[in-house]
Point group: C2
Chain length 278, copies 2
């Protein structure tokens, strides 16, 4: 039985190739489409093509030409700005006009619907490379304290409360107090902020009871926007004086689980997958 | 009819003297207690005393000695850390042991209850100097656009949703998307973060639809922790590329309303008081 290849649209960072490797290792062929200015040139080790931001027509032509019916999107792509680098085609413009003013979630849902109208099926990392999703339970050798587990629970609760507002991919809880909530700045800048507040003495919470919580937003379409942590997240969490990281089990990816565990073990942090109430 | 003086415990910043001036102007005498290391030495223009952080016994003795029955707390006081500057007395320690691990709201409520057990009545700025609270409606000559009013409504809604978690004094909404939520960092650092995201091109929302929303947390005891904005807030909001500031009417103070209006008029920002649903 020959299966058609999976088309993988690659944004920035190391995640696209990690996903490509995992899919290829599972025995399925891949066709990579690099987003120009974002994707790693190393995608060239697989059959591939390149596409500019906003060239939706060309993207679909490439993917269909490769015989793919399933398509996945991995890695960050800069929000479109009208500059010389960004020459959208008619199909993209039509799509964008339909979704102006939407939040991230709704925008991505529109985008997925437009792709599927072309006869493609949009797949998430959790479907095509489930081995990259963090499982339930503790990873590595450092276990969370009961206080840290309680802090994580509070973090999940507050992020869940933010679901209707299309924000809340991560938060930091210290001593049972929510000390940071991520919105537009992203997880890395949020961690840096807590590191600064600690360094300046403005935040004096006990590190042993301080936890980063990371989860998809409620209603987030995992197919187009998979939350991810990696070795750098562990290092930033360490600098922010946290005891560990709690993620929604099965809903947050990491490009290299062995590297993540090593980093956690070395820095003394726990990494905990928590089953979310649906 | 002689009224006993109001005791005003003064933390850092310009708010304590602004409140003292407003109370004195209303014809009531004041007795100021400066928190050492925090309060402005200029409090010496009123009858006053000084007290170290955590010296609750001495504080009560001073205040009672001045014949005051009403007491108010204005201005930030650093969170206590056990250092050479901080030698708590037995009464303070007893209080602290009762409230360890509480959130800000609960801690302050405990604190107020302890003061009131001594026969004092704790008063808020809204009671002793209501003229310093921002009223409902627009202030100054710049009016919010309908989009800005809508953005403000979203901001109030998301902050209200955070009430159960003892966070949410402010948020920034841009193009109907919540781009920042304040937790431990404070309003100023949150505004600086949005200014940075704009400067680096990571946030491209339309300034005309970008609003800072400031309100007490749900359940926040206004007597001990009055949200405040001032001329600097207007300037920081301008740097963050916002169209204006919306506050919960009657629940947010400013030390000098004329100066606030001048700053808003000069920078082109609106300042809007919004009646919150209770």
């Amino acid at each position: 039985m020959t299966e058609e290849p999976l088309a993988l649209v690659c944004g920035a960072g190391q995640f696209p190739l990690a996903v490509a490797d995992a899919v290829a290792a599972s025995g399925r062929s891949v066709f990579l489409v690099g987003v120009r200015g974002a994707a790693d040139p190393a995608i060239a080790r697989y059959p591939h093509g390149w596409v500019g931001m906003g060239r939706l027509g060309r993207l679909l032509k490439l993917v269909k030409g490769a015989g793919a019916k399933d398509i996945a999107f991995v890695g960050a792509v800069p929000r479109p700005a009208f500059s010389l680098d960004f020459i959208p085609d008619l199909r993209f413009l039509k799509l964008m006009f339909g979704i102006i003013g939407s939040g991230d979630n709704r925008m991505l849902t529109h985008f997925a619907a437009a792709i599927e109208q072309e006869g493609m099926t949009v797949r998430g990392v959790h479907e095509i490379a489930p081995g990259l999703m963090l499982p339930a339970g503790p990873l590595g050798r450092h276990m969370p304290s009961p206080e840290a587990v309680k802090a994580a629970a509070l973090g999940f609760e507050v992020l869940n409360a933010l679901g209707p507002y299309d924000i809340g991919q991560s938060a930091i809880v210290a001593d049972q107090r929510v000390v940071a909530i991520e919105a537009a700045e992203g997880t890395d800048l949020m961690l840096a902020r807590i590191a600064d507040l600690r360094a300046s003495g403005k935040l004096k919470a006990d590190a042993a009871r301080s936890v980063l919580v990371k989860t998809p937003k409620r209603g987030q379409d995992l197919r187009l926007d998979t939350p991810a942590i990696g070795v750098e997240t562990v290092q930033r969490a360490r600098t922010a004086g946290l005891a560990g990281i709690a993620v929604a089990a099965g809903e947050v990816m990491t490009p290299d689980i062995a590297a993540l565990i090593s980093a956690a073990d070395e820095t003394g942090l726990f990494v905990l997958g928590v089953e979310r109430k649906k």
